[in-house]
């Protein structure tokens, strides 16, 4: 099994802000394939986005920068503090920076955190069309290495 074009298109719509299109494509995904391919794609995109955001020019961000980022995400609106657990969000990013480990959480919560955090990270990067495609291609390649 590999990541499908539909799964990539679904994530692309999310990251481009096309919410309606994203939800439509999401509903059309095969559920069993999505549990494998789309989940892998989200995780790979989260890893890729965290590296781009918090590792620049070979320098890894320190914990304070991660904490500030998560705080900005949570203060976006009144709903976000209910969605994003700061300890979980920070631990996920610090884990990728090899400065900690992810705390325990259920699978749905971890997936939700990955989606929200990677969208915010991509939003801050302000990628153009080609950069977004390059990002998606890189995430897809990484995901395929796991699920093939």
């Amino acid at each position: 099994m590999r990541v499908t074009d539909d799964q990539v298109a679904t994530l692309r719509a999310q990251l481009k802000g096309n919410l309606t299109e994203h939800r439509r494509l999401l509903r059309e995904l095969d559920p069993d394939e999505a549990n494998v391919g789309y989940a892998a794609l989200i995780a790979a995109a989260f890893i890729e986005a965290a590296e781009r955001r918090f590792i620049r020019n070979g320098k890894t961000a320190d914990e304070s920068e991660v904490i500030e980022f998560v705080a900005r995400v949570r203060e976006t609106d009144d709903e976000m503090p209910e969605i994003i657990n700061p300890e979980l969000a920070e631990s996920m990013i610090m884990h990728l920076l090899e400065k900690g480990t992810t705390i325990e959480a259920d699978e749905n919560t971890k997936l939700g955190h990955q989606i929200v955090l990677l969208t915010f990270m991509i939003g801050e990067e302000k990628l153009n069309e080609s950069e977004l495609e390059e990002f998606l291609s890189s995430a897809r390649s990484l995901a395929d290495e796991l699920i093939e």
């Binding site: 999310q14 990251l15 481009k16 802000g17 919410l19 994203h22 939800r23 999401l26 509903r27 995904l29 559920p31 999505a34 549990n35 789309y38 989940a39 892998a40 989200i42 995780a43 790979a44 989260f46 890893i47 590296e51 590792i55 020019n57 070979g58 995400v73 976006t76 609106d77 709903e79 976000m80 969605i83 996920m92 884990h95 990728l96 992810t102 699978e107 749905n108 971890k110 997936l111 939700g112 990955q114 989606i115 929200v116 969208t119 915010f120 990270m121 991509i122 939003g123 801050e124 390059e134 291609s137 890189s138 390649s141 990484l142 995901a143 290495e145 796991l146």
Partner: protein, 263 residues
């Protein structure tokens, strides 16, 4: 040699009968040579007697400068014919200068240096300088020098990433991939909140004018303020009119009282 642009005289005055203290003896050269180029040993840097020594030394040695030409035959073959540093005649003419020691079979050209660190320029058999980049044995990522792009751990070209980094990313992926009962539902639940990350504007500390401040009138507030201004204007007009009428009545009353008093 003194007019050779590649050579900078060190300005040191070596003793006539002893090697320069800074230059050291040829036996000392291997140590300084190694410290100069990070331990790189080029076959071309080995002299005929097996010692690694520079034709220039650090500042040259007196004994080298006075080496007879016959000992320099092989050296001359390796050096650029236009290199007058190999000309023993010139060396003898200027005994006080730091000239190239004419060691046999020496193809290593060391630039006389004014600095404490030694600069070594290696040349090939044609006498052409060998770029440092070709000395891959001396590459040390910790030295802060430019490295090959493919050695960049954080290259954005995924295919070119270092194998160990790619392996680490795969490990992360195994740890991070979720196994929700329904990935679609879990993703849909956060799809709308996630959009906030694409809508928010990064605070820059400066007003961009895109969003009016609390003391500025936005487009929707202008009709309200216009109405308020109209009402205020009408009110003022009414008040003013009443004030004028009151003044007129008061004046009439005063005039009537005066007329009545005059009668």
């Amino acid at each position: 040699a003194q007019s050779d642009p590649e050579i900078e005289p060190t300005g040191q005055e070596p003793e006539t009968s002893a090697p320069d203290s800074d230059a050291g003896t040829p036996a000392d050269e291997p140590d300084s040579q190694q410290s100069t180029d990070g331990g790189h040993t080029s076959p071309e840097a080995v002299t005929q007697d097996g010692e690694k020594s520079s034709p220039y030394g650090d500042q040259g040695t007196e004994s080298d400068k006075k080496a007879p030409e016959s000992e320099n035959g092989e050296t001359v073959q390796h050096l650029d014919p236009s290199d007058r540093r190999s000309d023993p005649t010139r060396e003898e003419d200027e005994p006080g200068k730091e000239l190239t020691p004419q060691d046999e079979n020496t193809t290593e050209v060391e630039e006389p240096s004014r600095f404490a660190g030694r600069v070594t320029i290696l040349v090939d058999s044609d006498g052409k300088p060998i770029p440092e980049r070709r000395h891959t044995e001396t590459d040390d990522p910790n030295r802060g020098e430019l490295r090959h792009p493919e050695d960049d751990r954080f290259s954005r070209d995924y295919q070119a990433r270092a194998p160990e980094r790619r392996s680490r990313r795969r490990d992360f992926l195994r740890e991070f991939v979720t196994r929700a009962d329904d990935t679609r539902d879990a993703a849909d639940a956060v799809s709308k909140p996630a959009q906030r990350g694409l809508e928010r504007v990064q605070p820059t500390g400066q007003s961009s004018g895109a969003r009016p401040g609390p003391d500025q009138a936005g487009p929707r507030e202008q009709p309200v303020k216009a109405g308020s201004a109209l009402i205020g204007g009408v009110g003022m007009a009414i008040v003013l009119t009443e004030a004028i009428r009151y003044g007129i009545r008061s004046a009439k009353g005063m005039m009537e009282r005066e007329h009545a008093g005059n009668r």
